[in-house]
Structure formats: structure tokens, C-alpha cells
């Protein structure tokens, strides 16, 4: 009898340990526990920052930051430097992205054209741009191409960002176009459509839903990589931040604020595109 009990007891053991694990996981995932752990981790991070700043005798002046976003003066409402920089960043990335879309589509179509020269040109372009650090590309555009063609720093920046992202965008276009089944081409051609008509009415509209998610990533990437033009002193968000710091010495507050502004913009973009994706998913 005792032997039987022993066997059954042993046989139960793995079962109970799995159950205990599941219970522990459930407890960890319960709402109060999650909130507690989250607050604990956040407290450690923030406390670490503050303690570090305290130790180096940093003088926090958060109260001065809102003035750099917007201020009310005797002349009325006025945008602050950071807001002006943000608008410049959005304008810069917006223009560069539009241009990147046009160049990217052209490169993708060349790549898919089946023409030997077209394919060769697009591959050389892709490999050239993809295997070069963005910073070096920017120097090329500003110090060499800019000097030859007399481009100002803003135009050189837009062109550089457009070319850099065109390489990435063209691969998104190519993948999106290739994702449309070959039967769609055949059906479109069998009713007499030219290649241009096939792309315009049949293939590109269908590839949009394949391209939207990676394109969002690309827009976010563009906004972030536009910060690099601060090295040639184009007055966008990051440059403004650097200038403000050299005037005020508030490096912690300003960099935190700049980071938060970038995050807000890119998060908003992501939410917008998620909404777009849902709309496209319904209509097809």
C-alpha cells in the first residue's frame, strides 16, 4: 500500500510543478502586480538619472523649457525655437520622402523592366547607396555635389536624404509589385493593356497593401535620419537643440525634450498608418 502511494506521489510531482509555474505566471500577469513591477522599473531608471544629475551637481531648469515651445509675449502668441525646428524637420523629411518615392518607384520599375541597362543602372545605384554610411553620403552631397552645382545646405540635405531613402523605398516597391500574382499581369495583358496601364490600373493599386507597413517604417526612419543634417548646420530640430544648449547649458532638459518631440511625431505617424491599413484591408 505504501509503495503504491509512493509511486502515485512521484507521478504527481511534475504535474504539480507545471501547475505552480502557471500560477506564478498568472500572478505576475495580474493587473496590480504588473503595475507594481512597471512602476518599480520606471522608478529605478528615473531615480538613476536624477541621482546621477544630483551627483554631478546639475541644476534642473525645466520651467524654462515651455518658452522654447511657445510663449505669450506683449506681441501675443509666438512659436518657440523648438516648434520652429520641428516644422523645419517635418518639411525637410516630407520633401525628401516625396522625392524618395519618385526616385524609388523609378528605380524599382527600372529593376523590373527586364532591360539589361535598366537593371544594371538600378543595381549600381542600390549598391552604391546602401553600402555607404548616411553621414558620408551627406558629406558627398554637400562638399562635392553641392560645391559643383552650387547647392545650398538645405537643398543638399533634401537631395541626400531622398537618394538614401530612395534605395530603401525602391526595394519596398519592388517587393510590393512582385507580391501581386503573375495571373493579374496575364489577365490585364489579355484585355490589351499596355505595361503602363497594367501598372497603373491593376498592379500598383494591389501592391499598396503590401507596401503600407514597410513604408510607415520608412517614413519614421526618414524623420529620424533627418537629424543627421545638423552636422552641416541646417536649422532643423536637432540643430536648434544644439544651438539652444550652447546658449543655455541646459543639455539634459533640451535633449530630453528633443527626444520626446521626435517620439511624439513618429508615434503619431505609426497610429495614422495603422488606421490607413485597416481602411485598405476592408476595401479589398
Amino acid at each position: 500500500m505504501s509503495g503504491r502511494l509512493g509511486i502515485s506521489g512521484r507521478a504527481n510531482r511534475p504535474g504539480t510543478s507545471i501547475m505552480m509555474l502557471a500560477q506564478a505566471r498568472k500572478a505576475l500577469n495580474s493587473k496590480p502586480m504588473s503595475v507594481l513591477i512597471y512602476c518599480g522599473v520606471m522608478y529605478l531608471i528615473i531615480y538613476g538619472c536624477l541621482a546621477g544629475a544630483e551627483a554631478m551637481g546639475y541644476n534642473w531648469q525645466w520651467y524654462r523649457i515651455p518658452d522654447y515651445l511657445f510663449r505669450m509675449t506683449d506681441d501675443g502668441f509666438q512659436w518657440g525655437e523648438i516648434s520652429v525646428g520641428l516644422v523645419k524637420t517635418l518639411l525637410l523629411s516630407g520633401q525628401a520622402f516625396l522625392l524618395a518615392l519618385i526616385i524609388g518607384l523609378a528605380v524599382a520599375l527600372l529593376r523590373l523592366s527586364g532591360l539589361v541597362v535598366g537593371v544594371a543602372v538600378s543595381i549600381v545605384f542600390l549598391e552604391f547607396v546602401r553600402n555607404m554610411p548616411l553621414l558620408v553620403l551627406l558629406y558627398l552631397f554637400y562638399y562635392i555635389i553641392g560645391a559643383i552645382f552650387g547647392l545650398d545646405r538645405y537643398t543638399a540635405s533634401v537631395l541626400c536624404l531622398a537618394v538614401f531613402h530612395a534605395a530603401l523605398v525602391s526595394e519596398i516597391f519592388r517587393a510590393g509589385i512582385n507580391a501581386v500574382p503573375v495571373g493579374q499581369w496575364e489577365a490585364a495583358k489579355s484585355i490589351g493593356m499596355s505595361t503602363v496601364q497594367c501598372y497603373r490600373y491593376i498592379i500598383l493599386p494591389q501592391s499598396v497593401k503590401f507596401m503600407l507597413p514597410p513604408m510607415t517604417g520608412e517614413v519614421v526612419h526618414m524623420v529620424k535620419s533627418s537629424a543627421i543634417v545638423s552636422v552641416i548646420a541646417v536649422a532643423e530640430l536637432t540643430t536648434i537643440g544644439r544651438n539652444l544648449i550652447s546658449d543655455t547649458y541646459m543639455s539634459f532638459e533640451i535633449w530630453f525634450t528633443i527626444a520626446a518631440v521626435y517620439m511624439v511625431v513618429t508615434l503619431m505617424l505609426s497610429v495614422f498608418v495603422t488606421f490607413m491599413e485597416r481602411r485598405y484591408a476592408v476595401s479589398t
Partner: protein
């Protein structure tokens, strides 16, 4: 007598995919209004042959005339031929991002460049002819396979072609939907359309075909009217094939 005019002439056509010869020395003449049914084992070149007729495949050598136009590399000729030749695919290949009505009007609007009102009127007329006028505003994914294939037939008809090609139009369908598609094809045949069908529906073939073509290994090995083809085929390979598919 329009019936005796050749509308498709295929002369000594070869087709290679790399080293593989899909068609070898194929010659076939189809007269205006004639119905030709092509059958044969898979890989015998049936689909390749009809895909050469509207240049979805490029023939390697030989000559191919459609409605008096020779198919060469000339883009203008290819498009002119494709406007006269409708094609129905095994997998329907409807445009999933367009409604049924838009599927039917996109060709006439963009290729034939007729007015929108005319294109819509024409689309409704052909939807009526394939017996699904009520589905005009749905998307292809909302239709059954048989309905989708009938929309595909209507889409081709909206271009008002002189020739229709069918590439195994019922092979991807559930059995209970085959007849609704075949009925539409029979009505089309009776209206005098020139048709080339690749199909294994022998009842349909027997009913509409003027000529039966049997292909094997990239060659046409037997051409005969159905009365001869089904009763006393000359080629032993053809006899064997017919025995196999008519057995059940």
C-alpha cells in the same frame, strides 16, 4: 461565306523554355466561327499553344497570324491582337481590388477608350448574358468559383473580341459549379463566336466542337471532327487517352 475564312493560322511553330521544347512544329488553322477543342495529357503543350495565340508566350520560331496580323515582337501588333482575342484562365484571375462591374469596364474604358456610360451599359449587358446581373457591385472574393469564372468570361466579352480562348476554364471549379460555366460557354458557341478551348470536358467538346485536336509531347498528333475523333481515332496514344478519361 465568312465561315471558311481562316482567322487564326499557326504555321510550323516551335516553342522552347530553355532547353525544354514545349511545342514542336505545330500547325493549325482555325476558321472564323469555328470551335476547336484541344485535349491531351498534362505537359503536352495545350496551354502553351493557346497562350502563344495572344502572345502571353512568345513562340520561338514559325509564324502565327491572328485576324491577318502576324505576331512578331511589334508591340502595336500584339496589343491589336489582344484586343481581338479574349482569354479565360483556369484560376479566373479577376482583379480583386475592383468590383465586378469595374472588372468589366476597366478594359473598354482604358483600352478601347469608350465612354463611361457605354462601358457600364456594355458591362451590364454581358453580366446579363452570363446570368449574374445582380452581382455587379460585389467584389470577386464574395462570389463562388462558378460565378467568378462567369465574370471572367464577361470581362473578356466586354472587349467585344472576335476570338475567345479558354485555358481549362472548369479545372479549378467544384464539380457542382462546372455546368453553370459550361452552359455559358455553349451559349457563346451557339452565338457564332470563334473559340479555342483547352478542356477535358468531353461532353461539352462533343457538343460544340467542329474540330478536336489531340496533343502529346508538344505535337499535334490528331485532328478530327468529334464524330470521328471519339469513335475511331487513328493515333494509338490518343485512343489510350480517350479510353482513360471516358472510362468513368
Amino acid at each position: 461565306m465568312p465561315e471558311t475564312q481562316p482567322i487564326i493560322e499557326i504555321r510550323n511553330v516551335d516553342k522552347f523554355f530553355g532547353d525544354f521544347q514545349a511545342l514542336s512544329d505545330v500547325s493549325l488553322t482555325v476558321n472564323s466561327g469555328e470551335k476547336v477543342v484541344i485535349c491531351g495529357p498534362s505537359g503536352s503543350g495545350k496551354s502553351t499553344l493557346i497562350r502563344c495565340v495572344n502572345r502571353l508566350e512568345e513562340h520561338t520560331s514559325g509564324q502565327l497570324f491572328v485576324d491577318g496580323i502576324e505576331l512578331t515582337g511589334e508591340t502595336r501588333n500584339i496589343r491589336a491582337v489582344r484586343m481581338e482575342v479574349g482569354m479565360v484562365f483556369q484560376q479566373f484571375n479577376l482583379f480583386p481590388h475592383l468590383t465586378v462591374l469595374e472588372n468589366l469596364t476597366v478594359g473598354p474604358l482604358r483600352v478601347r477608350k469608350i465612354s463611361k456610360a457605354d462601358a457600364i451599359a456594355r458591362a451590364r449587358k454581358y453580366l446579363e448574358r452570363v446570368h449574374i446581373p445582380e452581382q455587379a457591385d460585389k467584389y470577386p472574393a464574395q462570389l463562388s468559383g462558378g460565378q467568378q469564372q462567369r465574370v471572367a468570361i464577361a470581362r473578356s466579352l466586354c472587349m467585344e473580341p472576335r476570338i475567345m480562348l479558354f485555358d481549362e476554364p472548369t479545372s479549378a471549379l467544384d464539380p457542382e459549379m462546372i455546368n453553370e460555366v459550361l452552359d455559358v460557354m455553349i451559349e457563346l458557341a451557339e452565338s457564332g463566336m470563334t473559340m479555342i478551348c483547352v478542356t477535358h470536358e468531353m461532353g461539352f467538346a462533343n457538343r460544340v466542337a467542329d474540330q478536336m485536336v489531340f496533343m502529346d509531347g508538344g505535337k499535334i498528333v490528331e485532328i478530327a471532327p468529334p464524330s470521328v475523333f471519339f469513335t475511331k481515332p487513328k493515333n494509338p496514344r490518343c485512343r489510350e487517352f480517350l479510353d482513360q478519361i471516358l472510362e468513368h
